[in-house]
């Protein structure tokens, strides 16, 4: 009865989506319970880490038995805030933006593409993956139409900061930046970045140094 809401370490938060993926698989295989060691094996980590991570969620398994898959799945979705959808607005209808909008993986995982916007009038009105490209001026309207929209920056690096500023003005609270550029936002806005080439560069480093550094 001690749902201690301890502060969850960032490293743990980053692993929760992995556990979620594993649990979805177990549930669809009709597996009822799972031990920390088995979950760890499927997620590519170790049992102690799983137990400590889950303990931060206030999730209790059963000693001698393990964790109830359905209950843990529910709790994981709850913890990650995935009991609701988070519509995404993609800014930039170039290669990367089209790619992300066409890639079905976002919608499947609770992040439907609500809109795509682009500053190029030639692109406005074209269709990408069933969504019509809208002008950047529509941003505020798009944010107002939906609840808690996440902004995705898929533009060249040199306009990334301007796009981020526009997203913030439009009322977006969370931004995912795919552009290879540093972006800064007011402290109350959540910001994360993904650099598609960065991991290739890291691989290049380890190949050049003839050391293997495996990462799940």
């Amino acid at each position: 009865m001690d749902r201690t809401p301890r502060r969850i370490p960032a490293a743990t938060v980053a692993r929760l989506p992995e556990y979620l993926r594993v649990l979805v698989g177990l549930a669809s295989d009709r597996i009822a319970t799972v031990s920390s060691d088995r979950l760890a094996e499927l997620a590519g980590v170790n049992g102690a880490k799983v137990r400590k991570d889950l303990s931060y969620l206030g999730t209790y398994g059963t000693r001698g038995v393990g964790y109830d898959v359905d209950f843990l799945l529910f709790q994981m979705r709850e913890a990650l805030g995935l009991t609701q959808d988070w519509p995404v607005v993609v800014v930039g209808a170039g290669n990367l933006g089209r790619a992300l909008a066409n890639y079905g993986g976002f919608g499947e995982r609770g992040f439907p593409v609500a809109a795509i916007v682009d500053s190029d009038p030639a692109k406005v009105g074209t269709e990408i993956g069933g969504t019509i490209v809208r002008p950047v001026a529509d941003l505020a309207g798009i944010v107002a139409e939906h609840h808690h929209v996440i902004g995705v920056i898929a533009t060249p690096g040199h306009v990334a900061q301007a796009v981020a500023d526009a997203l913030v003005v439009a009322g977006v609270q969370a931004i995912l930046n795919f552009a290879p550029a540093l972006v800064s936002v007011p402290p109350h806005i959540s910001l994360r970045k993904v650099d598609l080439a960065l991991e290739l560069q890291v691989l290049s480093f380890y190949q050049s140094h003839r050391e293997t550094r495996a990462v799940g």
Copy 2:
């Protein structure tokens, strides 16, 4: 004169591509020297971290002056192994694979798309971003045609392990996995993963918990 080749921490390696990006920008602006604090500001970190990171490379700046941009740029490319190109073979010509192959950002940064392969005969022979899709059976040939090819897995999760195995058999030494699945490889193979939806899930977590956790 003490080019100590200390082991470079993984956290430092992950930041080198950021420094590289900043240095490329400074060099194109014809800026000759940069201090650790300025470099830190442009990379979104702090000065002490920059100095410590650069010290692992055995890179020496000049006290009272800073770092020579061109020299540091050269060293950074050298450290990352980017004095050569690393051709990439994309496995999977679905939405994600087409996206990655069309996305010019890889080629620009030294990772040209050498080939795209797919197991679907209907896709083989079609063109994506100037490259003809080849059958999976061509993998070994593609690896032999080029030096040090990096394999990129852009398939659905349920075939990711089989693709990884095929890449290893074909002689690939480094793999970047975009599929949302755990993949394991022999210890001498470098493996990294990128999960496009994971960062959205992390944003969802922080939004739900109404805490802002900014990340450069």
